[in-house]
C-alpha cells in the first residue's frame, strides 16, 4: 500500500512526560475510508496519539502524515482536512447551537453566508434544528456531543478523530453517536476512534489497534483479534449458588484447564478446544452430578478477554503492573 492510500500514517512516535513514556514508538497506518479503533486502557497513549495527529502536540520523536500532509511541517494544510472530537465536549455553552456552528464556520473562513448555510445543514443533520436559541449549557449530554461532532464537520473533513466519543453518554445517546459515525464512514470519511469500551470498537471499527504502554501490541479486525485468543469458551450458569464449585470442577475436568468462576453471576467459564465434545461432555457431567444448570453456552471470546490475553490486564484498568491472568 502506498502512502497516498493512507489517511493516517505514523511512524515511531515517542513522547515522554518526565519519567513516563506516554508513547514508546507507536506506528499506525490507517487506509483512507476506513474506521480504525484505538483500543487500550487509560494511560495507554491513545489521547496522546490523537493530539499529535490533530497537530495539537509535538512528538519527541517520529513523524506522521494525515490526509497526505506532515503534521509537524505542514500543520496548516492538515487542519482544514481534519475534524477533532476531544474527550471533553468543546462547545461554547453560553451560545446557542446555531451560534456555535456559525462561530466555528467563521473560524474556518467560510464567510457569513456560507457559515450560516453550513450551520443550518449540520443542525438539521444532527437533529438540532428545532432547539432555537437555547444556550448549549441547557442541552442534554447527548445533544451537546452531537453539536460537538457537527462542529468538527464544518469543512466535511477527510479524516475525523474521535477521542472517547461516547464516554459519559447514556445508552441512547451512545447509539445515536454510533449511528452518526457509521453514516460518516459510509460517506467515505476516515475515522480514527479511541475508546476503552470494547463493544464500541467491536461495533464501529473495521480494524482495531490495541494500544498498551505507548505502542501498538496487536492489530486486526475484531474477528481476527478474537480468533487470536484461540479457543472458544463454555459458560455454565447454575441455579443454586452452592453447586457452583462442583460445576466449576466438572468444567475444569472436561476442558482440561482451570475454570474461571464468577460467583455474582453464578457462572463458571473455561476455554475449550474441541467444541462439540466439550459441550456434550459438560452437559452429561452436570446431569450425572445432579447439578441444575440454568444456562450452558458455547461462545466466541469477547474483546475483553482478547484484551486480557494480549496485554495481561483488563481494558478498564490503567495498571502497568502485569495483572494475574486467570487460566
Amino acid at each position: 500500500m502506498t502512502t497516498t492510500d493512507l489517511a493516517v500514517a505514523a511512524e515511531g512516535l515517542r513522547k515522554r512526560y518526565g519519567d513516563t513514556a506516554a508513547l514508546d514508538g507507536l506506528d499506525l497506518a490507517v487506509p483512507a475510508g476506513t474506521v480504525r479503533g484505538l483500543l487500550g486502557p487509560n494511560g495507554a497513549g491513545k489521547t496522546t496519539t490523537v493530539r499529535i495527529l490533530a497537530t495539537l502536540l509535538r512528538p519527541d520523536e517520529g513523524h506522521a502524515t494525515v490526509a497526505g500532509f506532515d503534521v509537524l511541517d505542514r500543520p496548516g494544510e492538515v487542519r482544514p482536512r481534519i475534524g477533532l472530537l476531544g474527550q471533553r465536549t468543546a462547545v461554547d455553552e453560553i451560545l446557542s447551537g446555531r451560534q456555535n456552528l456559525e462561530l466555528f464556520g467563521r473560524l474556518h473562513h467560510l464567510g457569513a453566508r456560507a457559515a450560516r448555510a453550513r450551520a443550518t445543514e449540520l443542525l438539521d443533520r444532527f437533529g438540532l434544528g428545532d432547539t432555537g436559541g437555547k444556550p448549549v449549557g441547557r442541552y442534554s449530554g447527548g445533544m451537546r456531543r452531537r453539536l460537538d461532532l457537527a462542529a468538527a464537520l464544518i469543512l466535511a473533513p477527510a479524516v475525523l478523530f474521535l477521542d472517547e466519543p461516547t464516554t459519559g453518554l447514556d445508552p441512547r445517546a451512545r447509539l445515536e453517536m454510533w449511528d452518526a459515525v457509521r453514516a460518516l464512514a459510509r460517506e467515505g470519511t476516515t475515522v480514527l476512534l479511541t475508546t476503552h469500551y470494547l463493544d464500541e470498537a467491536d461495533h464501529l471499527a473495521d480494524t482495531i489497534s490495541v494500544v498498551d504502554h505507548g505502542r501498538v501490541v496487536a492489530e486486526g479486525t475484531p474477528d481476527e483479534l478474537k480468533s487470536r485468543t484461540g479457543d472458544d469458551r463454555i459458560d455454565v450458569v447454575v441455579r443454586d449458588p452452592a453447586t457452583l464449585p462442583a460445576a466449576a470442577e466438572l468444567l475444569a475436568r472436561v476442558s482440561g484447564t482451570t475454570a474461571h468462576v464468577d460467583p455474582d453471576l453464578r457462572r463458571a467459564g473455561a476455554p475449550v478446544r474441541d467444541r462439540a465434545t466439550a459441550l456434550t461432555g459438560i452437559v452429561q457431567a452436570l446431569a450425572d452430578a445432579g447439578i441444575d444448570a440454568e444456562d450452558i453456552a458455547l461462545r466466541r471470546p469477547t474483546l475483553d478477554e482478547v484484551f486480557l490475553h494480549l496485554t495481561g490486564h483488563r481494558a478498564g484498568e490503567p495498571n502497568r503492573n502485569g495483572q494475574e491472568v486467570p487460566a
Partner: protein
C-alpha cells in the same frame, strides 16, 4: 454535502488578514456572550458602582481629605483603578474556562490564526473595561466627582487607567493558561484584593507601618491612582517619596514592565500547550 475549503493564505498580507478576521471573530464571540447574558454583565458592572456608593455615603462622612475637598473627589480615581485591576479576574476566568473545557484545544486544531485566541480575548476585555470605566465615570459625576484641569488631561488619565488594564490583561491570560481551570479563580481573587487595598486608594501610605507603606507607595496600582488624581485635578495624599513624586512616570513604566514580562510569558505558555 459539498463544502468549499478556503485556501490557506500564502502571503504575509493574506496571513495578516486572517489574523485580524479571526481575532475579530473571537472578540465578537465574547461580545455575543454579553448580549446573551445581560444580567451577568449588569451585576458585574453594579458591583463597582455599589462600592462607590458604599464608600462615598457610608464611610465618606468620616473621611478627612488631605487639603480639603469632597471625599468623592478623592475616592473616585482610586475606584476607577480598582475596577481596572479587578478586570484581571474576568480575563482569568474566560481564559482558564476555555482551556478547561477543551475549547482552546479545538481552536488550536482549526485552520485559523492561533494568536487570534489571545488577541480576540484582549480586544474583548479592553472593550469590556472601557465600558465599565465609562459607567464608573458617569457614576462618579452623579456622586459629586469632577475633573478640573480640562478634558485633555482627563482623557490622558483615562488612557493611563486603560493602560493598566491592558497590562493586567496579559497577567490574566498568563495565569489563566497556567491554571488551566477556573477553579483557581478564588486564588486569583485572594491575590488581587490585597494588591487593591495595599495601595493609596483608601488610605495614605504614610499612615501605614513603614514597610507596608513602602509597598503601598510602590504598588503599580498606586502609581496609576496618583497619576489619575493629578491629571483629573483631584486631591491626593501627596507624600515626599520618589515614587509619590514621579507617579506619572511610574503610571507609564509599571504597566509597560508588566506587559513586557507577561506578554512574552503568555505567548510562550500558549506555544507550550503543544509540548
Amino acid at each position: 454535502m459539498t463544502v468549499h475549503v478556503p485556501p490557506i493564505p500564502r502571503t504575509p498580507a493574506a496571513r495578516l488578514r486572517w489574523a485580524l478576521t479571526d481575532g475579530w471573530t473571537l472578540t465578537r464571540r465574547a461580545l455575543t456572550h454579553w448580549a446573551r447574558r445581560p444580567a451577568q454583565v449588569v451585576v458585574g458592572l453594579l458591583f463597582p458602582v455599589m462600592t462607590v456608593l458604599m464608600f462615598r455615603y457610608l464611610f465618606g462622612g468620616q473621611m478627612r481629605v488631605p487639603g480639603g475637598g469632597g471625599y468623592a473627589e478623592f475616592l473616585l480615581p482610586g475606584m476607577y483603578a480598582m475596577t481596572m485591576a479587578f478586570g484581571l479576574e474576568t480575563t482569568f476566568a474566560a481564559v482558564s474556562g476555555d482551556a478547561a473545557k477543551g475549547v482552546t484545544d479545538r481552536f488550536r486544531s482549526l485552520p485559523m490564526t492561533s494568536s487570534a485566541v489571545v488577541t480576540g480575548r484582549a480586544v474583548a476585555d479592553l472593550l469590556n473595561s472601557a465600558l465599565a470605566l465609562a459607567l464608573m465615570v458617569a457614576c462618579g459625576l452623579a456622586v459629586g466627582w469632577r475633573w478640573h484641569d480640562g478634558a485633555g488631561r482627563a482623557l490622558l488619565a483615562v488612557g493611563l487607567l486603560l493602560l493598566l488594564r491592558f497590562a493586567l490583561l496579559w497577567a490574566g491570560i498568563y495565569l489563566g493558561l497556567v491554571a488551566g481551570s477556573p477553579e483557581l479563580l478564588a486564588a486569583v481573587q485572594i491575590l488581587v484584593w490585597p494588591v487593591g487595598f495595599l495601595s493609596n486608594v483608601f488610605a495614605a501610605p504614610s499612615t501605614m507601618p513603614g514597610w507596608l507603606g513602602a509597598i503601598a507607595e510602590w504598588n503599580p496600582l498606586s502609581a496609576t491612582v496618583s497619576a489619575a488624581r493629578e491629571l483629573f485635578g483631584n486631591p491626593g495624599w501627596g507624600g515626599g517619596s520618589w515614587a509619590a513624586r514621579h507617579s506619572l512616570l511610574l503610571a507609564v513604566l509599571w504597566p509597560m514592565l508588566i506587559t513586557f514580562v507577561f506578554l512574552p510569558l503568555s505567548v510562550r505558555r500558549f506555544r507550550r500547550l503543544s509540548r
